[in-house]
């Protein structure tokens, strides 16, 4: 049976797991990053998809991408998710949107959340997805 929590995967140390939070609303980004860090995870913050791509193209390790969809810049969160799914399929991806993403396929992300979302629920899902990592 697959482990569903990080506690069931003693080999996976939370602080060595890295979540990239991409959100242009700074108060929301700070709140989510804080919530994830208080769960022991390592967090990288990006203010838009361009910053996220800069991080994802660098050698900084990222295990899970948590991105908003509607953001200013050269690309929105959906394009970012689709691009990363194509070039880094092992990356876990969660997309959050103010509009219900009914037409979105599982090919783009492992999970979708409607905004406004409950931070604790999102963090729980993030840790579940991280627990499935092959490390």
């Amino acid at each position: 049976m697959a482990a569903s929590t990080l506690a069931e995967r003693p080999g996976l140390e939370p602080e060595k797991l890295s979540v990239l939070v991409v959100e242009d609303e700074v108060l929301l980004r700070v709140m989510m990053a804080d919530e994830l860090r208080s769960n022991g995870l390592s967090v990288i913050e990006a203010a838009n998809a361009d910053e996220a791509l800069t991080v994802l193209r660098s050698s900084a390790p990222v295990d899970l991408l948590f991105t908003d969809i509607r953001m200013p810049g050269s690309m929105d969160g959906l394009a970012l998710a689709a691009l990363m799914r194509a070039i880094k399929p092992e990356l876990k991806i969660i997309v959050a949107s103010g509009q219900s993403p009914r037409s979105l396929s599982r090919d783009i992300a492992d999970e979708f959340f409607d905004k406004p979302y409950n931070a604790a629920t999102v963090v729980k899902r993030i840790t579940e997805l991280l627990a499935t990592l092959e490390k």
């Binding site: 700074v26 700070v30 990053a33 913050e45 203010a47 800069t54 193209r57 660098s58 050698s59 900084a60």
Partner: protein
Amino acid sequence: MTSTPPRSESTAGAETVLVVDDEVLIRMVISEYLRDCGYKVIEAANADEAILLLQQEELTIDVVFTDIEMPGSMDGWGLSRWIRANRQGLHVILVGSPAHAANAAGELCESGPMLSKPYEPQAVLDRIKRLLAERHK
């Protein structure tokens, strides 16, 4: 061009640092270093985000650590002037380059919760340089 103040009363006992930088890789490494020093770090990608955070009454911010050159409505000097006008007494550290940022962060570590540096600022600068070089490949 930097104003890295000497250790002073205003940073003693400071717990939360707001790091403001439009270059995500530099912001990421400096913030991580300051967290490793025991600070709580809040990140802003530009001056507008920083001001929005500074206006939140429930957020305690003790030190603002900001890059000087930033695009947008306000650069680091402008942010510093805004703070002087609106949040008097808040300690501001202005940095003009990654090297200055690494050194200033090192000094902040020595006056921070752990009163010491977890590793040398040179290691921080080396990491920034390595990451920025990857970007231009």
